[in-house]
Symmetry: C2
Subunit: 121 residues, 2 copies
DNA sequence: ATAATAGTTGAATAGGTATTCAATCGTTCA
DNA sequence: TGAACGATTGAATACCTATTCAACTATTAT
């Protein structure tokens, strides 16, 4: 994804002082990658739609598929990603699997985004 | 990205009552698409790294390229996305273009994500 | 045991996207 | 004016990813 090359800016015009200060303050690469990873999960409208359903109620795969007008397969693939990233949890009951939000950080972040979008119209 | 198919779940086992309640409570598609769009911007580690630099100081393209070890071109491409989505703003001074964060919703959302990641270790 | 249904999974495909490369624009300075 | 540099841009490429399709598992009911 990222690769070093020649043209990295060897100029003398770089603001050395500021740059060094900023470099020292940066979080480590791993943390930044984790942040990006978390946001990537939210950065898909199918997953966003699934989450907005689960804000309202615990639902089975078939319910979600019905709400989104999508196949169970497509929904299940996305639920797998949400499961792996600990965004949703599930319980099995009979033939059905019920999904719900794993913790409320999720809805806080989501609601903050909605707020952001509405405030600057 | 999304497409209707036959297998959408025509089953009678769907929880009709709950589903209708949830459907009524859902935000409109456009809002959900906007939310996903916003998160998508954060869902790339290059952009996350750029933002974490801009949390610290206003910087020119060359500074950022230097900090990330990337070409000015690659950085500029990502800055364009951040500009278009109103996440960063810029001012031109001489030959250089200085970038900074557009509003502080951005850092609030970002910091909430960091918090989320650290809390559940 | 068999049929039916809920859900999952892997492979294939199609669409999306980040980086590179080369060309270009705009500004400054000699 | 022309050279140098910061920055942007478009096209090409290579990688990533969401959905489809078909096969499969597990559970329930007849």
């Amino acid at each position: 994804m990222k690769r070093l090359t020649k043209d990295v800016c060897e100029s003398d015009v770089v603001h050395v002082g500021v740059v060094e200060k900023v470099r020292a303050a940066l979080p480590d690469e791993e943390t930044l990658a984790d942040v990006a990873e978390l946001f990537k999960v939210f950065g898909d409208s199918t997953r966003t739609r699934i989450l907005s359903c689960l804000f309202e109620a615990e639902l089975c795969v078939c319910d979600i598929a019905s709400l989104l007008g999508m196949t169970k397969s497509a929904v299940s693939h996305q639920l797998r990603i949400l499961r792996q990233t600990k965004v949703v949890k599930y319980r099995k009951q009979g033939k059905e699997v019920y999904y719900s939000l794993d913790d409320d950080h999720i809805s806080r972040i989501y609601k903050m985004a909605l707020e952001h979008l509405s405030e600057d119209n």
